[in-house]
Subunit: 269 residues, 2 copies
Amino acid sequence: MIYALANQKGGVGKTTTAINLAATIAQAGERVLLIDSDPQANASTGLGVRLAPDEPGVFEVLLGESDLVGIVRPTEVPGLDLAPSSSHMAGAEVMLTRADKREFRLRAAIAQVTSSAALASRAAGKPENAGGPPYSYIFIDCPPSLGLITVNALVAAQQVIVPVQAEYYALEGMTQLLGTVEAVKARLNPDLTVSGLVLTMADLRTNLAGQVEAEVRRHFPELTYKTVVPRNVRLAEAPSHGLPVSLFDPTCAGSDAYFDLAKEVIERG
Amino acid sequence: MIYALANQKGGVGKTTTAINLAATIAQAGERVLLIDSDPQANASTGLGVRLAPDEPGVFEVLLGESDLVGIVRPTEVPGLDLAPSSSHMAGAEVMLTRADKREFRLRAAIAQVTSSAALASRAAGKPENAGGPPYSYIFIDCPPSLGLITVNALVAAQQVIVPVQAEYYALEGMTQLLGTVEAVKARLNPDLTVSGLVLTMADLRTNLAGQVEAEVRRHFPELTYKTVVPRNVRLAEAPSHGLPVSLFDPTCAGSDAYFDLAKEVIERG
Ligand SMILES: Nc1ncnc2c1ncn2[C@@H]1O[C@H](COP(=O)(O)OP(=O)(O)OP(=O)(O)O)[C@@H](O)[C@H]1O
Ligand SMILES: Nc1ncnc2c1ncn2[C@@H]1O[C@H](COP(=O)(O)OP(=O)(O)OP(=O)(O)O)[C@@H](O)[C@H]1O
Ligand SMILES: [Mg+2]
Ligand SMILES: [Mg+2]
């Protein structure tokens, strides 16, 4: 199953959710790939990976200069591989506008990965994966925009997970975002569905977080996950150590929340 | 003086700083214009302004379909005018790539405003403004990206104010951002300088905020403003009332911080 983590509102927890969901599901025994399609490369540095200026990353894959199979690498988390973002991806949006089949570049690249015998045999190191695809879960971290990079992720994905910060502005952008998902579903990717909305950085000591949560659940009762990720400084500290929170501080509230969220995501299927 | 509020990292306080700095300086008696160039239109809704789908906003100005003078309007704050973002600006980036003089569209639009007799005479209602330009300060809120909309703001501006969230990822993106400012300065706008970096959302009870602050001041000792904006829930609550924090809760820590920051920005000139 391929999930995009998308929301054009900035700083709502897309990267934090992508890293910690991917890591928790990998630690549960699944084979997982995390694709960092954000020019900021936060999902890459948050897992301790920084590309040298001449090393190919997701940008080169989108432009057809490199293949995804070639840039995938293991991380500190057993079972979790990463396709890192290159350091000079900032120009990707403008260069992609001129590319052929510009919305389908990431989808085509992922198809190479899922049918790669080389990656499958590496995955097959685990007996339960023998003969199957290399990954049972793929997560794509998106930049804070609804431009061509995010559209590529929405075309490549089967489901979208939307982190929603428990604050006023994050609620504002939902209509624009769900409108874009519908437009992509209608024109480019009929299989695309919204897996769910996950409330993040909720400081439940404040009225604001409670009000936003009630509002989100009122508008999207079915779609909103039960799990609410609390504001927890360990989640903000973990990336500076290049680790998901489940390795950095396994007993903190952030780890518990992402463990619960992973269970819900797997159950929704 | 024209300032852009820029940082491609999402959720670092660009909009909050743009609104509260503009409002505080307007309340000090200056004539101020806030331009919302972010498709999310957070600076607009944060001041209680929502455009109807067919109403022209900054998007139409960038595409040459409407002029800036025509979309500017007063706000709840005496002395502060707003140029709102239109609701369907999400397509702006892609459409701008094909426009003529695409990086200079906002700069040309602002030139019309600063030389507009109609706006100047409205401003002249205040005797101290008679005969001068309509605004002594213009702030441009940018989206979380380094694409064409932000480049337009960097070409239109004389100075850049960079909000830096007191967290790990926000520190990561500084090199990319300052590199983009240098590139715009070299190729498109030789007058552009960095006014300063302002630390935002600093929860000084955590080690992380202290570490990031020390790191930012070590790398950029001169550029970093003395004022640090603390994490303060009143700043997150104010936009849902369509008010800057100085009108929503004038005695809170958030108001104090933006008052101090406004003094520093005016002093740096
Ligand atoms: N639950 C949480 N509690 C505390 N801090 C958090 C939490 N989730 C994320 N953070 C921190 O908040 C900041 C924003 O989160 P993150 O970078 O994951 O958001 P994003 O949506 O990926 O941002 P962008 O839009 O820039 O891609 C980061 O510094 C991160 O470490
Ligand atoms: N000092 C602060 N204390 C508490 N909350 C804050 C503070 N500054 C901003 N916020 C809140 O944090 C969130 C992010 O801030 P804001 O939207 O201003 O950032 P931004 O950089 O403009 O985001 P984007 O990248 O999406 O444009 C908002 O919900 C805002 O209300
Ligand atoms: Mg991110
Ligand atoms: Mg903003």
